[in-house]
Structure formats: C-alpha cells, structure tokens
Symmetry: D3
Amino acid sequence: MTNPEETRIERFRRERSALNETVMRYAGQGIKRYYHLDWAAYQPGALDVKTKELLGLVASLVLRCDDCVTYHVDRCLQEGVTSAELQEALNIGLVVGGSITIPHLRRALQTWDEAVAAGLHPSAGSAAGASDGGE
Amino acid sequence: MTNPEETRIERFRRERSALNETVMRYAGQGIKRYYHLDWAAYQPGALDVKTKELLGLVASLVLRCDDCVTYHVDRCLQEGVTSAELQEALNIGLVVGGSITIPHLRRALQTWDEAVAAGLHPSAGSAAGASDGGE
Amino acid sequence: MTNPEETRIERFRRERSALNETVMRYAGQGIKRYYHLDWAAYQPGALDVKTKELLGLVASLVLRCDDCVTYHVDRCLQEGVTSAELQEALNIGLVVGGSITIPHLRRALQTWDEAVAAGLHPSAGSAAGASDGGE
Amino acid sequence: MTNPEETRIERFRRERSALNETVMRYAGQGIKRYYHLDWAAYQPGALDVKTKELLGLVASLVLRCDDCVTYHVDRCLQEGVTSAELQEALNIGLVVGGSITIPHLRRALQTWDEAVAAGLHPSAGSAAGASDGGE
Amino acid sequence: MTNPEETRIERFRRERSALNETVMRYAGQGIKRYYHLDWAAYQPGALDVKTKELLGLVASLVLRCDDCVTYHVDRCLQEGVTSAELQEALNIGLVVGGSITIPHLRRALQTWDEAVAAGLHPSAGSAAGASDGGE
Amino acid sequence: MTNPEETRIERFRRERSALNETVMRYAGQGIKRYYHLDWAAYQPGALDVKTKELLGLVASLVLRCDDCVTYHVDRCLQEGVTSAELQEALNIGLVVGGSITIPHLRRALQTWDEAVAAGLHPSAGSAAGASDGGE
C-alpha cells in the first residue's frame, strides 16, 4: 500500500485526506466548524499567507506535533518559503521550545530536504530554493 | 509478527500487555502502586464508569497521547459509549486543546471506526452503535 | 477596587467579563467565532451539560490553566455537581496529569470550598452539597 | 513600590530587568550563552524582525507563558505591528492552541490596549495604530 | 495577612500547608494515596535524596509550574544543594525546555537568592553556600 | 534497510546521526550553537555526568519525547546507571508527570531491557547490571 517513490509529504497528503473523510462521517457541527475556522485562520488578511504559515509551523514545532509540522512544512513549500527563511523560523521554535523540539526539527528538515530534492519547491529548476542554508 | 486481521485496538491490547510485563520486572513499589491508583481512579463511585472513561479520553486527547487515547477509546467502546457521545466528548477536547489535537482525533476516530466495523461495539448486530454520527 | 466580601468565583466572573469586552474590541471574525464554538461545545446533546462541564474541568486541570479551572468549577457548581463527584473528576485529572497538577487542584478546591461556604451551591440550605467529601 | 501610573508593559520591563540581574549573578556559561542565543534568534536575517517577533508571540501564546507573551507584545508594539496584524497572529495561536490559550489572549490584548492608550505605539498621534481591529 | 519579613519560601510553606488541609477535607482515597506516592518518590533509595530533589526540580522547571519549582528549590536548600549545583540543574532544564522556562528560572533564582540571604541555607555562616555562582 | 539484529538503541544512534547531518546542511549559526549548548549542559561540573543524564532523562519523560528518552536511556546505560537507579528516576517522572507518561516509560524500559540483554551495559558479564529491579 506504500508507494516507494512517494515522498513523505505526498504520503502525508494522501493519508491525511483519507483520515479526514473518516472524521467527517462522525463529526457533528462543532468539529466541522472547527475545521473551517482552522482553514480560515491561514487565509490572507492583514498578514500574508506566507507569514501565517510560518506562524503555524513554529506553533506546531513548539507544541511538538509531527503531523502538524509536516502539514505546515508542506504549506510553506507551496508558498515558496526559502530554506533560509524556514531554518530561521525553526530556530525560533528551537530557542523558545528547547532541545525537546530537536527530534521534530530533524524530521521537519528531512521532509523539506526530500521534497526539495523531488522538485516540489516552486523554485525547482532555478538555483534559488536549494542553494541557501547555513552560514 | 503482525496479524493482518487484527484491529488496531486488538494489537494495542496485546502490545500493551507485553510491555507492562517488562515494566513490572523493573518496577519498584512506587511504579506498582501508581499502576494500581491509575486503575482505581476509573472504578465506579459518585461518577459512573462511562463518565470516568470519557474524562480519561478527553484528558488524553488534550495532552495528545495516542496510546492513552487508544486505551480510553477501547474502554469507551466496552462501556457502550455511542458514536454521538464519543464525538461530542472529542469535540470538547478539540475546542479546549486546539487544532494541535486534530491528528490524535483523526486516529481516535479511525480506531473507533475500525472497531465498530469489526463488531467490537456492544451494540453490534443492532443498528444503535453505528448509525449515529454527524448532523 | 477589590471587594473584600467577594468570593474568588464572583471576582473571576467580573474580571473575565471586563477582559472579554477588550478582546471583542480587537477580535476579528476568527476569534469571535472561536468564542461561539467554545460556548456551543458545552450545550446539551448526546451528553448532558453536567458531564460536559466535568470534561471541561478535567481538560483544564491536566493542561494546568487556573482561569479555565475556575471557570469550570463555577459551571459545575451552577449545574449542581456534588463535592464527591467533583473530587472524583479531579482525581482522574491528578492521576492522568501527575503531581504537577496539584497546585491547580489545591486552588480548585479552595475556590469550590469558599463558594459552597458562601451559599453559591444550588443545594445550599439542604445538607446535600457540603456534607460529602472524603472516604 | 508599584507606581500606579506605570503601564503593565513598563512594570514588566522594570521587574524583568531586576530579575535578570539576579540570574546573571548565579548563571554559569550555559545560561549566559542561552540568553545570547535567545537574543540572536530575533535579529534580522532572511526573515525581518517584525515577522520574528510575531513568531515569538505565537509560540509564547500556544505554550501559554504570560511573561513571554507580554515580552513579545511589547516587542511587536515597538516594531509597529498594527492591531489588525496582532489579532490575526493571536487568532492563529488560539486556533492551534485551543480555548486553553484564551486567558493568555485576554491578558495579551489588555496589555496591548493599555499600551496603545498610553501612547506607547509608534503610530500614536496618527490614527493608524488604534483605529483598526475587528471586522 | 502578609508578613513583610517573611521570605517567599516561608510564605509558600504556610500557604501550601493551609491549602493542603482544604484538599484533605474533600479528598477521597485516590487523592490521599497520590499525596503519599508523591512523598514516597523522594525518599532515599538507590538514588540519594539530593539527586531526587534535583530531578523533581528539573521536572518542575520544564513543565513550568512555579509552585512546584518553589517547593523543590526549598527542598534543595534544606538538602544543602550548592548554588553551583542548582544553576547547573536549572541550565539542563533551560536547554531541554527552552526560553519559555526563563520566567520560571528567574523566579527560582529570586526565591533561592532571597532564602540564602535570609540565612536559610544550611551552609549559612560559612562562606560555602553563597559565594559560588557564575564562571 | 533495517538490520534485524540491531537493538533499538543501535538503530536510534544510526538514524539520529543521519538526520543530524541533514540538519547541519540547513542550520544557520543559531541552530549550530544550540546543538553545542545542548552538548555542553551534560558535561561534568558541580554535578557529575551520571546525575546530569538522569536529569535529562526525567525532563524528557515528563515532556513525553520518545527520542529524547531513548537518547538519555542510552547515555545512562553508557554511564553505568543501574536498573534500580533508572527505575527510581523514572518513578519520579511518573509521579510528577502522571499516567500520561506511562507509554513512554514502557518504551524506555523496553529499550533498556533489550540493551541490557544485548550486553550493552558496562556491567555485562558481572551480575550487577541485570539482577536488580523491583522490590
């Protein structure tokens, strides 16, 4: 059932979608509206989408939720966040949340690294997305 | 070592039991007494068992512990909690604990859904357990 | 500005109300809808209000939020939860959440004890509310 | 010792500074370097200071630390974050972290509201800082 | 009701004792046994009392519970932990738990500093307890 | 890619090492320095290494991070912590952090038990490491 060519992000998208269908079969109005509120919080407003996704990523990292981190890593990727921006945001999460976040930070960068290598970053083909990084 | 016909709940029961045997080989009096106190907290008293298991479930959801959620989903199932009751309790956990609980809520309902489908709910055979749900 | 005759619960109600007015002056649609969802989660449904307030109380205790605990202690009081029921629910929170919850459990019972003594429990005047407790 | 004309933010600045002096008298190299790393994480880089302070604010809100929230509310104020931007960031923290963050969100907006009223926002005197808000 | 000559630790001891009396009036067997288990965990065994109190201190710091931190700061003081040992343990809590622990670390050292100055450390009168610290 | 003869600790060492290489390719100075601070916190000082590793273990248990627990279980093993010392430290984590830590405690002892059986404890060959345990 696992496709060996699938990246972590692609597998996460597929499994999350299937599980959300199960949730919706049981969900009352409360859970359904929560899903909508969650979606609405990341729509553009006074802050742009990229900033909001970085906020979601750092919140997920300090609360140490791998699935939430993967979701926002994926969204940051789609919004064209650069590797340098990503690692600065993760660094804030690390400093605020401590070394207990390191296993999640490791998996976040593994997911990001694999997705960039698979050409999922909007800058793929140009040099911009992959060549930045450390100092 | 994995039986493909085993449900998540049945596998959880088996693995939990094996690991608890390891714990007991190392446990001093403190850990042993903690296990007893934990068991005693869910015995009937001024509150009935079903209410107590729902309390344990929501506490586990907001603290985001999958194994603890699975344990209380199983206990709720055994106590005949209905799907409508379960989703209302999970909704309180979601509202209190935020979207960071959603991955755990997803897995809780996947476990519940699979167990109901496998006929593990006491109402299996009647229509009561499986037909309720969303609005 | 502090009324010495006011109980903790009464002061909490007053201050919470004033602060929520400030929130509403700044809140966009997201925060406003969250407040509504939060309110709706505790309305009667498949589970009754008393059970839902106990779920909110235990979730607040294990997440160790004093204001949230005070709010649900107040709501449990209004719903006629007995002292024996309250302490059994708090015990589940203690066992699940550990001794780190004890300072919050202490303040929860101080708030409850003061409110019962001030006649705020619906059973005040009868013997029912105050005479139960330990074993 | 309390100056009644002092805002919450001004009192926080004063007390934090005094306590950090005590910390430095006991701190070894580890704690001293941590303080430096913490400072460095919010310096401008691939992300600008305003974005980084919003990241710190949301991380502090979901981890429910009042002092940390006050610190980043103050820093957001100094960086000219608008009320509309602030409430959108807080809304993300609320949705991710749940209603358990509401007491902290209330105090964050109380602190912000008081500081704006005291003329501490860089836009004070113009209409920009104070007139935005809800929808 | 506040004695201005009382240290933070002395006030904490007095208030904690009064609140625990309230808890015991409501507590069933579960809460009472939890209190005993909590006490027993810090008795000497394969690990000595000083090490166990440092473990309790660091656990309390990373879980960010001021009352629990104050309690274990007091116990460390009674067991003759030195300032250098204390700050190394706190540093581990800081690195593991992140900058979100800093407000608690600040108050821990304020409590410690005040108690050492008040002569509550067993080494008071000798130079040993107060003269160590940073590097 | 999985070697069936590898213990959990050995697999963890290998995977952690590979992931840290990915982190270092993206890490700026902040993350790199955090890794160094984290390492430095456990070096010998006023407290010895064994005590510091027990502090790291209990902090990781109450924060419920399996990878962090596995890392410190491995380090405790290397430092010659005995099974009796380990279970007393874990008991403090359990009492402070509650039953929500039990799944992590179970996996910690499974990892420890397997490593002791595989001869990874420094006392292997003598009776000292494996024969202690419960009361």
